[in-house]
């Protein structure tokens, strides 16, 4: 990395930390919540982009991994009392009743369990190609959801869990988001990351160049599931309540929207898109509510927000298939060029 780039990156990170400090202390709770969601969706977007965007596997099962993560942290961080209150229909299974862990180990376990599920699901499912893989992963996510809806003594079934401690704050969410970005950058730029991209580009050629397709697909899938689990955990401890209905296909769709908009082969794109989409989804909430323009009140139309987002997704996939960034990544060079309206030099150094 160039010296200049190194310093610029460090300065940016310091600025981010300062911003987070002030946001945490002084900003309105609503805005803080949105900021948290942006970071969480960054993690979720990156985890899905690894599998779908970089390795080219069409996996639609992300909501399942998130559910596993969210329920794991919820069950582990709920106090003994809160657990008893939640599980009034049927008491929680004995070994879990008294287990209470701090946030970090709970999150870690969430990720690990989700990764384990990813491995177990991946082993059979990843032998399938294209559409079949999509439907199989969708199926697995649904199976997980249905299981969670029916295991009254572990997940509290359809009632869900309430009163989950609000451990997710800006430090946790942005800290983990930053770690995820770093992890993905290191992974994608390593030989293993290149192998993933090769699989996306042309499986047969990749295999002929000696790449073990199955091993690498499972690797990518499992890592993606790990971060999806952690994202799910962060989400649960932010929202305070979770239930199986939250983890329907709509959730996977939202993340798919984020990675398509940002550009499926770009880490930068996913990060930017996570922020843009999360903020827009909040900003466009007004479409669902009545609008008081003083002289006239336009009645809110429930669901209009999602119509707008569906149209947006269609427009992007039909006309801007590569999304915002395509497969390009952020570089300080590019940013500086954009900011100073500099035209790139032609060959020979002429302007």
């Amino acid at each position: 990395m160039k010296k200049r780039d190194y310093y610029l990156t460090v300065i940016s990170l310091i600025l981010l930390v300062i911003f987070l400090y002030f946001a945490d202390r002084y900003m309105d709770a609503y805005i803080v919540r949105i900021l948290n969601l942006c970071a969480i969706y960054t993690v979720l977007g990156l985890s899905m982009n690894l599998i779908n965007g970089f390795t080219g596997l069409f996996s639609l099962g992300h909501a399942g991994f998130m559910a596993i993560g969210a329920y794991t942290t919820a069950i582990l961080t709920l106090s003994v009392n809160a657990k008893a209150q939640n599980f009034f229909l049927e008491p929680i299974a004995a070994p879990l009743a008294n287990v209470v862990l701090p946030f970090f180990p709970s999150l870690l376990l969430a990720g690990i369990l989700a990764a384990l599920a990813g491995f177990l699901i991946g082993a059979p499912a990843l032998r399938l190609k294209g559409d079949y893989l999509a439907i199989a992963t969708l199926g697995f996510a649904e199976i997980i959801r249905v299981i969670f809806t029916n295991t009254q003594n572990i997940t509290n079934g359809a009632l869900g869990l309430k009163g989950i401690p609000a451990y997710t704050n800006l430090w946790w969410s942005y800290g983990i988001a930053a770690f995820t970005v770093l992890f993905m950058v290191l992974l994608i730029n390593s030989s293993y990351g290149r192998a993933f991209k090769a699989i996306r580009e042309d499986e047969i050629a990749a295999e002929s160049m000696g790449i073990n397709l199955f091993k690498h697909k499972v690797m990518s899938f499992t890592i993606g599931a790990f971060f999806a689990g952690i994202g799910g955990g962060l989400l649960g401890n932010l929202l305070g309540t979770i239930d199986p209905a939250m983890f329907k296909f709509t959730l996977t769709f939202n993340i798919l929207l984020i990675i398509v908009l940002g550009g499926m082969g770009s880490i930068t794109g996913t990060v930017i898109s996570a922020f843009v989409v999360t903020i827009s989804q909040e900003a466009l909430r007004f479409l669902d509510q009545p609008m008081d323009l003083g002289f006239i009140v336009i009645p809110g139309v429930a669901g209009m927000r999602m119509v707008v987002f569906s149209i947006l997704l269609m427009l992007v996939v039909l006309f801007y298939r590569h999304g915002l960034m395509g497969t390009n990544e952020f570089s300080w060079d590019r940013l500086i060029n954009i900011l100073s309206f500099k035209k790139p030099l032609l060959k020979g150094g002429k302007k």
Binding site: N52, G56, F58, P124, A125, R127, L128, G130, D131, Y132, A134, I135, A136, L138, G139, F140, E142, I143, V146, I147, T149, N150, I204, F249, T250, F253, L256, V260, M264, V301, A302, G303, M304, M306, V307, F309, S310, I311, L313, M314, V317, L318, R321
Partner: protein, 299 residues
């Protein structure tokens, strides 16, 4: 496993066959589109849902059922063909993942438009005395509908098989399923053939939707999601791309779903997961399905 009288068994079987017929009608739409475009038309279930609303509004505005239902079919055909034109046509040569995302987007768009236009609250589908009158055979009581559905399905199937195997249009459809380029070189109008395929699939979904509405009279914008997924699974079980297979898959799924819940009522909550479990089994052990042919890639 609960004990069951033979009457109850027959009742459940009749329901299973009815449900299976409905699944079959919808599954055919999936399998035909997959055969011709290698695309899972995620929006198909939502087209089925829209059909029920078309029928609802037809009757709502005072039209008798024998006017409203045919209009429903026409409207649904138009809808299905519009979706193909808007969401899929321009992406035919794009990477597979783009068209799949477009399908998901179209599905979500239709669902959310339905929520916006019709409201999210369920509506009551009009009941038609003609169909819902209960008939008693021995100790078994079923609605007339329970017989009508399989009969209608069988008739439609015969017409469809005739269409596919004995007409020029059908031959065009089969040709395009095999190879777009070659079919084009042989003078087949690809765009028209694909449109017709969507049209037929939508028509069948419309008829299925109307009968579904008569049998399960509560309609809501998201009612197409689960049946849509299940019917795609039915198509896979039967061998994706194969019309007869879709029918076999539909019946298999419908009957086994009903029987499962009937014999093991403790598993009712897992009713929906059942289809997915079967799907996974099929994909793992016989991905080409019951009637399937292997589609190989040239290296």
């Amino acid at each position: 496993m609960i004990k069951m009288t033979s009457e109850m068994f027959l009742q459940h079987l009749a329901n299973g066959i009815s449900l299976g017929s409905l699944y079959a009608l919808i599954a055919i739409g999936y399998t035909m589109v997959y055969g011709i475009l290698r695309l899972i038309n995620f929006a198909h279930g939502d087209i089925f849902m829209m059909a029920t609303y078309f029928a609802f509004f037809g009757v709502f505005f005072g039209l008798p059922w024998y006017v409203s239902f045919p209009i429903t079919i026409i409207l649904t055909i138009i809808l299905g063909m519009t979706v193909e034109l808007a969401a899929y046509r321009s992406l035919r040569d794009a990477p597979k993942i783009s068209i799949m995302i477009s399908a998901i987007g179209a599905s979500f768009l239709i669902e959310n438009l339905a929520i916006v236009i019709f409201g999210g609250r369920p509506k009551a589908f009009p009941t038609e005395e003609l169909f819902t009158k209960v008939v008693h055979i021995g100790n078994v009581s079923v609605q007339r509908l329970t017989f009508i559905i399989p009969v209608v399905t069988a008739i439609l199937l015969i017409i469809l098989l005739y269409l596919i195997n004995k007409t020029k249009t059908g031959m065009a459809m089969r040709a395009v399923s095999k190879d777009h380029e070659t079919a084009r070189l042989m003078g087949v109008n690809i765009d028209r053939t694909i449109s017709i395929t969507f049209g037929i699939g939508s028509a069948l979904a419309a008829i299925g939707g109307v009968m579904w509405g008569l049998k399960f009279p509560q309609i809501q914008p998201l009612m197409g999601v689960m049946p849509g997924l299940k019917c795609f699974i039915a198509a896979v079980i039967g061998g994706i791309g194969n019309t007869t297979g879709a029918v076999i898959g539909g019946f298999f799924l419908g009957v086994s779903e009903i029987m499962l819940v009937a014999l093991l009522p403790g598993l009712t909550g897992y009713r929906d997961a059942f289809a997915f479990i079967i799907l996974i089994m099929v994909l793992l052990f016989k991905p080409t399905g019951i009637m399937g042919e292997k589609i190989s890639e040239k290296v």
